[in-house]
Subunit: 303 residues, 2 copies
C-alpha cells in the first residue's frame, strides 16, 4: 500500500531484553544509523549489545520495545525509568492476553506487536541484525489504539526491513494459531506416533518426516508456553485440522497442494490512514512495506 504519514523526527528506540529478538532489533537499528538504547538483566547480554554500538541505559524513551519472555512482560520495567510520553510495544507471540495485561498499565500508550521471525536459537548469542529483513511484523490496531503511536512503532519495524501487517489482537491470535501453534502440535504428534511405530520407522525417516517435525526440536517449555498462551484459538484451529484429516485423501492432497503453491501476487494499493482501512488491508493478506511507506511532510499520501 502507499501510506500517508506524518512528519516526525525518527524517535529514539529503547529495547528492554537483549536476547535474540531484542538484541537483533537493537543491532539492526544501529546498522540503520538510528539512536538506540537497551537494557537486559543479564550483564553478558548488555555487554554484547554495547559491543554492537547499543547505548546501555535504564532510561526508556521514544518507542520502548519489550522483548522479554511473556511471563515477565508485566514486571520487566519495574526497575527502569519510563518516559511518560514513551510509546510501549512488545514482541510476544500472542496478543489478546498480552494487551489485557499491559493495557491496564499503559493505556493508549501501548501498541501490541509480533514480528514473525526468530529461529530455534535464543539468547543474545543468536543476535542477527538481518533477522527482520523481509519478515512480517503484526501490529495491533485496537479500537483504543492511538494511531500516531501505531505509526511510530510501524516506522521502527520498517526501518529494520520488516513489513507491517495491521491486525486486531483477536484476528492475530486466530491466524497464528493456524500457522504457528498447530504446526508445532502436528510436529509433536508426528514425532511421537513415529516413535510408537518403532526404531525401524525412525531409521527409514527421510525428508518428509524431517521437515514435518523440525519445529518440535525447539525448547519444549517455549513451545508449550506458545500453544497454551493461545489456547482457545489453538484448540479451534486444531479442530479444523482434525476435520480436514477426515476428508478423502485425494481431495485433501489436491486442496493442500493448491494452498501451498498458490502465488499470492502483490500490487501497490493506496489505503487511507484510518483504522478500518488498515485492518482491511491486513485481513486481505496485505502489508505496509518500506518501499512504499515514506515519511513525508504532513499527511500527504506518497505517489
Amino acid at each position: 500500500m502507499t501510506f500517508p504519514v506524518p512528519t516526525m523526527p525518527a524517535p529514539p528506540v529503547s529495547v528492554v531484553g537483549l536476547g535474540q529478538l531484542g538484541g537483533s532489533l537493537a543491532a539492526a537499528l544501529v546498522h540503520a544509523g538510528r539512536p538506540v538504547s537497551g537494557w537486559d538483566t543479564d550483564p553478558a547480554a548488555r555487554d554484547a549489545a554495547a559491543a554492537r554500538g547499543v547505548t546501555i541505559s535504564r532510561e526508556l524513551a521514544g518507542v520502548v520495545v519489550l522483548a522479554v519472555p511473556m511471563p515477565v512482560l508485566g514486571t520487566a520495567m519495574a526497575d527502569l525509568i519510563l518516559d511518560p510520553d514513551a510509546t510501549v510495544t512488545d514482541v510476544g507471540s500472542v496478543k489478546a492476553p498480552v494487551l489485557a495485561e499491559l493495557g491496564a498499565q499503559y493505556g493508549d500508550r501501548l501498541v501490541g506487536g509480533h514480528p514473525m521471525c526468530g529461529t530455534e536459537r535464543s539468547g543474545h548469542a543468536a543476535t542477527d541484525p538481518a533477522l527482520f529483513t523481509g519478515a512480517r511484523w503484526a501490529l495491533c490496531l485496537e479500537p483504543g489504539t492511538d494511531l500516531r503511536r501505531w505509526l511510530r512503532v510501524a516506522e521502527v519495524a520498517l526501518a529494520v526491513g520488516a513489513e507491517v501487517v495491521p491486525v486486531t489482537a483477536a484476528e492475530h491470535d486466530d491466524a497464528v494459531a493456524a500457522i504457528s501453534a498447530v504446526p508445532h502440535l502436528l510436529a509433536a504428534a508426528l514425532a511421537t506416533a513415529a516413535g510408537q511405530a518403532g526404531p525401524l520407522a525412525l531409521a527409514l525417516a527421510a525428508g518428509s518426516f524431517t521437515d514435518g517435525t523440525r519445529v518440535i526440536g525447539s525448547d519444549p517449555a517455549f513451545v508449550t508456553a506458545l500453544v497454551e498462551a493461545n489456547g482457545g484459538p489453538a484448540a479451534a484451529a486444531l479442530d479444523r485440522v482434525r476435520a480436514q484429516l477426515d476428508r478423502p485423501w485425494a481431495e485433501l492432497v489436491a486442496d493442500g497442494h493448491a494452498v501451498r503453491t498458490a502465488t499470492r501476487g502483490r500490487r501497490p494499493v493506496r489505503v487511507p490512514l484510518e483504522r478500518a482501512a488498515l485492518l482491511a488491508l491486513g485481513r486481505s493478506g496485505g502489508a505496509v512495506s518500506r518501499r512504499l511507506a515514506a515519511f513525508v511532510e504532513g499527511w500527504v499520501p506518497e505517489a
Copy 2:
C-alpha cells in the same frame, strides 16, 4: 553390522526407467566404475543416460532395477529381453502390493526394494549421482527370498553409497506409513486449514508453517498414489496421530521433542547372514553400511 558375504564378481546392473531414481542410480554406478546398462521408453531419457556413460540396451541381465512408476511396474519389461537368471528388484515406495504383483511373475528372482531418497523434482533432468549417498535403502527379506539374490541387490545399494535396511514388506509398509504417508497428509491438512483461516493467516505464515507444509508442494497425483497404495497402514498410522493430538499439550510437546532430538548412537555389530538375524537388525533401527560390508573370499566375516 559386520557382514559375511560370498565371493562373487560384481554383477552387471540393468536399470529400467531412467528418471530421477533410475537415472541417478545408473549415473552413480558409472561413477563407481561398474558396468551398467539402461532403458527408458523416453528417447530423451535414454540420450541423457547415454551421455553419462550408461550403455543403452533392451537386454537386461545381472541385477535388474525396475525404476518406473508403480502403475507400470508389471508391464515395464514387456518389450525387453530379461536374462532368465537375472535378479529383479524395484524402488517402489510401498512393498506388499508390489511384491504381490511382481512375485507371481518373477518368483524367487524378485527382491523388493525402496531407497529412502528422491526429491520433489522428477524425471531424467533431476538425475544426481550423489542421490543415494548416506540414504537408507530398504530391501525385503520375505520367507521365500533367495538370500544370495538379496545380497546381490544389497551390494548394488552399498556401491552407490546407501545403507541397506533388511525388512519384511509388511514392516516396511507400516514404517513408511508413519514417516512418509502421514507427514504428507498432515502437511495437506495444515495447509488447507490455514487456507480456511484466511489470507491474513497465510500472510503471517513463517518457518513452522513453511516447514510443516513443504512436502505437499509435491505433485498431488504422486502424493495421492503414495498414500493410497499404502492405504491400510497409512490409515492406521493416521489414527495413531489422531490419538496423540488428544493428549494434553505439554505432554505431547515434551514427548515429541524427545523423539525428534534423540541421538541414535551407532556401533558396529556382527550379524549372522541369515534372515531372522538380518530382520532383527532392521527392526532395531540398524543397517548394513558399506564401511562394514566387504566382499571377501568365501563367507568369512570381516573383522
